[in-house]
């Protein structure tokens, strides 16, 4: 407590700094807004709440005491980390709960028993333990793992759409009359069995995908969209090619890269509709199986967890663009590696000549001290660079000391 009082009393804040802090708090408001609406999924009203409340709070406090204003600014800054960490825990628990529900539904469809409660508890505890372990590594590693590595790994996680596009590059297209049981790819024209009426425009179709997105407008007037809900309604239908036709059982089907049929925006929400129409040339990946009456049917492939339908044109478009994107990816990889190596190479200028040192491959923070406060965190980062210099200086002194001749002091 005395340390805090000392710190508070020693704060030296003038009006210029207060203005600076107020401006900084607007940047902090960006993080507040993103965390509250992204991780906690709270619909902020008005959207600019933090952009006003943060500088206002600092300004009002400065009227009472400038030191208090500085303290509030520090608290606002730290609250980003606290809110972010709790938000991630909250978001992870919520998505874990959702995944557990989805897994139960999948198992129910496959006719297997749902995951026992003890396993779910075990998974949750393992997650929390991992989180705790990452925290013990120290704040720098925590930030790197949680904010960079985990999101990157999450982006690699496969989903139905990724699996669909990956499999369409691997599976040959079967003729419908001779499609073999199991995982298969078929293509042909869609044929209605029983029509449905779409949400927008009341159009007759085989099925539709209807999405509602929240619209957020930034300071530059740019709109960004986050998915609020998505609904796929699709009745069973036939796919017909030159060789025959097969019924499609649509439970669990995903509409992939369909053209927008209708779209409008109202009350900061965007409504979009995609239609599966009669006679549309489509490509499907799923499982060929048999119904109870031994009729062939195309349905969801539960083992690979894939069942998608996409217009042939979209698939062709993807296949055309993919090699270009892949080449761009290799190009970026090459340059990113090069940049990283340049960052790790000590470069100095001596006598108008650039001198390249050895690439430094020592891991940072190896000598970090335990982090108990924010100051410790910054000290660690600072030390990780200063140590090298001090080591170098110490080594120089040691060399000088070793080379120095030991002389006897005159008596």
């Amino acid at each position: 407590m005395s340390e805090f009082s000392e710190f508070y009393n020693n704060l030296n804040v003038d009006k210029g700094l207060i203005i600076m802090l107020m401006i900084m708090s607007v940047f902090v408001a960006i993080f507040h807004t993103v965390i509250i609406s992204g991780l906690y999924e709270i619909n902020l009203k008005p959207k600019w709440l933090f952009f006003v409340s943060n500088p206002l709070l600092i300004g009002l406090c400065s009227l009472y005491d400038t030191k208090l204003a500085a303290l509030v600014a520090i608290i606002l800054f730290l609250s980003v980390f606290v809110l972010g960490i709790f938000g991630m825990i909250f978001s992870a628990i919520r998505s874990g709960y959702q995944s557990s529900k989805d897994e139960d539904a999948r198992r129910k469809r496959m006719g297997t028993t749902p995951l026992p409660i003890w396993k779910k508890i075990l998974f949750t505890l393992s997650g929390l333990l991992f989180f705790g372990f990452v925290l013990t590594l120290g704040v720098p590693y925590f930030i790197i793992i949680v904010f960079i590595i985990l999101p990157f790994l999450t982006s690699l996680k496969p989903n139905n759409k990724k699996r669909f596009y990956k499999l369409q590059r691997t599976l040959p297209t079967s003729n419908i009359r001779s499609v073999a049981m199991g995982l298969a790819e078929i293509s042909g024209k869609s044929k209605t069995i029983e029509p449905v009426i779409s949400r927008i425009g009341k159009k007759e179709c085989i099925g539709f995908l209807y999405t509602i997105e929240n619209v957020t407008t930034d300071n530059d007037g740019k709109d960004s969209y986050s998915l609020e809900s998505s609904e796929t309604i699709c009745k069973p239908f036939y796919v017909q090619d030159n060789s025959g036709q097969i019924a499609v059982a649509t439970e669990g089907i995903e509409f992939i890269d369909f053209e927008i049929d209708e779209q409008y925006q109202s009350s900061m929400k965007r409504y979009t509709q995609y239609l599966l129409k009669e006679n549309l040339e489509v490509l499907l990946i799923g499982k060929a199986g048999l119904k109870e009456n031994n009729e062939p049917v195309f349905q969801k492939e539960e083992i690979k967890d894939v069942f998608g339908i996409s217009p042939i044109a979209s698939v062709e478009n993807y296949n055309t663009l993919r090699p270009i994107l892949q080449s761009a990816g290799y190009f970026v990889y090459f340059w990113v590696i090069l940049i990283a190596l340049i960052f790790l190479t000590p470069i100095s200028l001596k006598n108008n000549t650039l001198v390249f040192g050895k690439i430094n491959l020592d891991l940072p923070f190896q000598n970090s001290k335990p982090v108990k406060s924010v100051t410790d965190f910054y000290d660690n980062i600072y030390d990780s660079y200063e140590n090298k210099e001090s080591e170098h200086i110490e080594n120089t002194y040691q060399q000088e000391a070793d080379s120095a001749e030991v002389t006897q002091a005159p008596e």
Partner: protein, 186 residues
């Protein structure tokens, strides 16, 4: 901070490369398995066609007494096919069976009582459907092989394919006998 940034970049690049290697490996394994599976799927239909032969012989035996050698030959081919284990031998026997079946159906045209027999017509349709499906599956097999051959030759897949000792696979060829066309005789 730049140093940490560099390490993170390198780490992510390594993870990304690892992901490329794993997905390439999985893709090659899948392509190879597709080829094996599509070959076995032809086998399933060949077996189905062979299973129809006893029924066919039962239907035509009484009326086609004079063509008994033809039926005996077909039965022999079927027995050999069912006992055969090598894929090449199976294909050869299956081709011979196909020709023999064609001959029987052609000769049956000379026997009005067979031609009008409903069971015979059903069997003829069934065999014809299986023949069509076999043709489709052969095409499918060749497509699987082509995708596999392209897959193992693409960059950077070919590096991993070499390490995994994955070589090119042969397409199913149409035999000279099948290609032979005698023209239409009136």
């Amino acid at each position: 901070m730049i140093q940490i940034f560099a390490y993170v970049i390198l780490g992510l690049v390594v993870l990304g490369l690892l992901n490329v290697v794993v997905s390439t490996y999985n893709r090659l394994v899948m392509l190879r398995n597709n080829v094996d599976k599509s070959f076995v799927n032809i086998d399933v239909l060949l077996k189905q066609r062979a299973d129809e032969i006893p029924n066919l012989i039962k239907v035509v035996k009484e009326s086609m007494k004079f063509e008994e050698s033809m039926l005996t030959k077909l039965t022999e081919l079927r027995t050999n096919f069912l006992n055969s284990n090598s894929p090449e031998e199976k294909i050869e026997l299956s081709n011979q069976m196909q020709n023999q079946l064609k001959s029987i159906f052609a000769v049956a045209e000379n026997y009005p009582d067979i031609k009008t027999n409903q069971n015979f017509q059903l069997l003829q349709n069934r065999v014809s459907q299986i023949e069509d499906a076999i043709a489709d599956r052969r095409e499918f097999y060749n497509e699987s092989v082509t995708m596999y051959n392209i897959g193992i030759a693409e960059f950077p897949n070919f590096i991993l394919a070499k390490l995994m000792l994955y070589g090119r696979k042969q397409l199913l060829q149409i035999s000279e006998q099948e290609k032979k066309y005698d023209g239409i005789a009136f």
